[in-house]
């Protein structure tokens, strides 16, 4: 639908630059969630998997399609859920961060433990 090898190459080259540019600004502390997030994005292979699975009409394509769809769905779903689980904690710690740092007399005795 996009037609032509030249178009494909254009998208490819531009995406390489965008990929580098977007990522170069991520702080170290977010590298684990980032790796996990990009990992989920390459689960887009699910689009390819359902394209081949939809037209399955022989034992070979049936098996290939079934396995490919299963693996790709695991990649997408697991990837996004596990990333969200990591990032959920970053959110939590920002509220916890409301406490002033280095204030030795802060009254944290009432803070619930565990």
């Amino acid at each position: 639908m996009t037609g032509g090898l030249l178009n494909q190459l254009t998208f490819f080259v531009l995406a390489v630059f965008v990929g580098f540019e977007v990522i170069s600004k991520v702080p170290t502390i977010l590298h684990t969630p980032l790796m996990s997030g990009t990992n989920a994005i390459h689960g887009i292979i699910l689009v390819g998997a359902i394209l081949i699975a939809a037209g399955a009409n022989s034992p070979v394509t049936t098996v290939l399609g079934l396995v490919a769809v299963t693996l790709a769905t695991t990649n997408v779903v697991g990837g996004f859920v596990v990333t969200d689980r990591m990032l959920e904690m970053f959110k939590g710690r920002q509220t916890a961060g409301a406490r002033a740092p280095g204030a030795p007399n802060n009254k944290v005795a009432s803070e619930p433990k565990k």
Binding site: T2, L5, F11, V16, V18, G19, S24, T28, I29, H31, T32, P33, L34, M35, S36, T38, N39, A40, I41, H42, I44, I45, V47, G48, A49, I50, L51, I52, A53, A54, G55, N57, L66, V67, A68, V69, T70, L71, A72, T73, T74, V76, V77, G78, G79, F80, V81, V82, D84, M86, L87, F90, K91, R93, A96, G97, P101, G102, P104, K114
Partner: protein
């Protein structure tokens, strides 16, 4: 219709890029993940009109999606935070496997003598996807400790791997030249799977995150290649984004370790070298100081400033909550507490931050290496919890050491050093740490969680 689909794919691509951008700040990171997930939903929805379902087709898609969703959700929800790196390896591996299978199916459909512009990306995707799948599974097994984390090497290993790679190139050319002989794809796939295993075997557990990151980038490229064969814009763009960002992340990770990527991949780092073993033998005769929890509790309680250096030992012992409790008890006594986070503390860059965030450690107390390194000389105590190589002065002083040149935390500059460790065993790099034998150092042996709990009680009593 096709215009609508193309526009929807474009929207999905924009959402992926925005998502990645939002992931760059802690504030927007969670939204970034949602944005990317939304992009995925848009891309999948846009694909539906392209499908011509057979009965079998619709059934296998339903079954596959159901199984994948259950496995993905359950796996991602139940995994312990310490096991995140191997979970990412697993999810990456299945993605690579899917890319390879899609390419096989596509190549079968192309029939005899397909155009090179279609066959080449398929073959690329089969090879890279299979390498990524097999390599990720070995990485998973190493991190999950299903197999030894130390490098597995033998004489002539690199030559064997080189021959394997050459055989793959040979078969790839054969497939491209004669095409559509199922036997040749299968051979190609099997060889690529073997190469994936052989490639990761000689790499030590400590370097696994770099390998996972590299394989993540590879899977991205395999997906992009499938996009070329299927003429699918969404696959090309999303796969390439991952390929580019994953390559950059891999480089950043090896930079943080002060080593080149080539050294990590082919250096069999972390082997117990003959020299290191000899030094280890010597270590037993060198004396270390150890102290009781009570003494250490008093030392900590009457300090002004304590810097905690968490490492992988803290993660495996699930001791992040105990560490936080100790920090709280100390703060209540007016002690200034900070955490010094080495970029590769834990098993992946940022892994330690995730673990400590899970324990609700305030953001401001987490200091990155560059921020905190000058503070060590003013610290009364550097409390090293299950870290080793990241505080090894050999990285600064011993040019022959395998970790020479790696940036380290200046824990040795603190007035007192409490080194909490399970045993005298060397860290992942397989080398001794002179810091343990230093005059300012006190060893406190035991499981990190138990030891921290004892220290909490001791500080309370002091």
């Amino acid at each position: 219709m096709t215009i609508a689909i193309t526009l929807a794919y474009l929207l999905a691509a924009v959402l992926f890029i925005l998502g990645l951008k939002q992931l760059s700040s802690p504030k927007g990171a969670r939204n970034g993940n949602f944005t990317a997930a939304l992009g995925m939903v848009v891309a999948l929805a846009a694909t539906l009109p392209l499908l011509h379902f057979t009965r079998t087709g619709i059934t296998i898609i339903a079954i596959g999606v159901a199984i994948g969703t259950v496995v993905g959700v359950v796996g991602a929800r139940l995994v312990r935070m310490t096991a995140i790196p191997q979970m990412v390896a697993l999810f990456n591996g299945v993605g690579g496997g899917a890319a390879a299978l899609v390419a096989v199916a596509e190549l079968l459909k192309l029939g005899d003598h397909p155009a090179l512009s279609l066959a080449f990306p398929s073959v690329f995707s089969i090879v890279i996807g299979s390498v990524s799948f097999a390599g990720s599974m070995v990485a998973f097994a190493k991190l999950q400790e299903l197999m030894t984390g130390t490098p597995i090497t033998y004489r002539g290993q690199q030559i064997v791997n080189l021959l394997l790679a050459a055989a793959i190139v040979g078969f790839a050319i054969a497939v491209l030249a004669i095409a559509s002989i199922p036997f040749s794809f299968i051979s190609l796939m099997v060889l690529a799977l073997i190469l994936g295993v052989a490639f990761v075997l000689p790499i030590g557990g400590a370097d696994m995150p770099v390998v996972i990151s590299l394989l993540n980038a590879c899977t991205g490229l395999a997906v992009a290649a499938s996009g070329f064969t299927l003429d699918n814009f969404a696959l090309i763009v999303a796969g390439t984004l991952v390929g580019a960002s994953g390559s950059l992340l891999t480089k950043l990770m090896s930079d943080a370790m002060g080593r080149s990527l080539g050294n990590i991949l082919f250096g069999a780092f972390g082997q117990i070298h003959a020299g290191a073993t000899a030094a280890g033998g010597g270590a037993q005769s060198r004396s270390v100081r150890s102290a009781s929890a009570e003494d250490l509790g008093t030392l900590l309680a009457y300090s002004q400033r304590v810097i905690i250096v968490p490492g992988y030992g803290l993660a495996v012992a699930q001791a992040q909550h105990a560490a936080r409790e100790l920090a709280d008890v100390l703060e209540r006594r007016g002690v200034d507490v900070e955490y010094a986070i080495h970029p590769v503390a834990g098993r992946m860059p940022g892994h330690m931050n995730v673990l400590l965030a899970e324990a609700n450690v305030p953001y401001e107390q987490l200091k990155e290496m560059d921020q905190v390194n000058d503070d060590f000389k003013n610290a009364d105590v550097a409390l090293i919890v299950g870290a080793n190589d990241v505080v090894n002065p050999a990285a600064r002083s011993t040019p022959g050491s395998p970790i020479y040149g790696m940036p380290i935390l200046n824990a040795d500059q603190a007035k007192n050093i409490i080194f909490m460790k399970r045993s005298m065993r060397p860290g992942f790099a397989g080398i001794d740490n002179d810091l343990m034998f230093g005059p300012k150092t006190v060893m406190f042996f035991g499981d990190a969680k138990d030891s921290l709990t004892k220290l909490v009680a001791a500080v309370k009593a002091a």
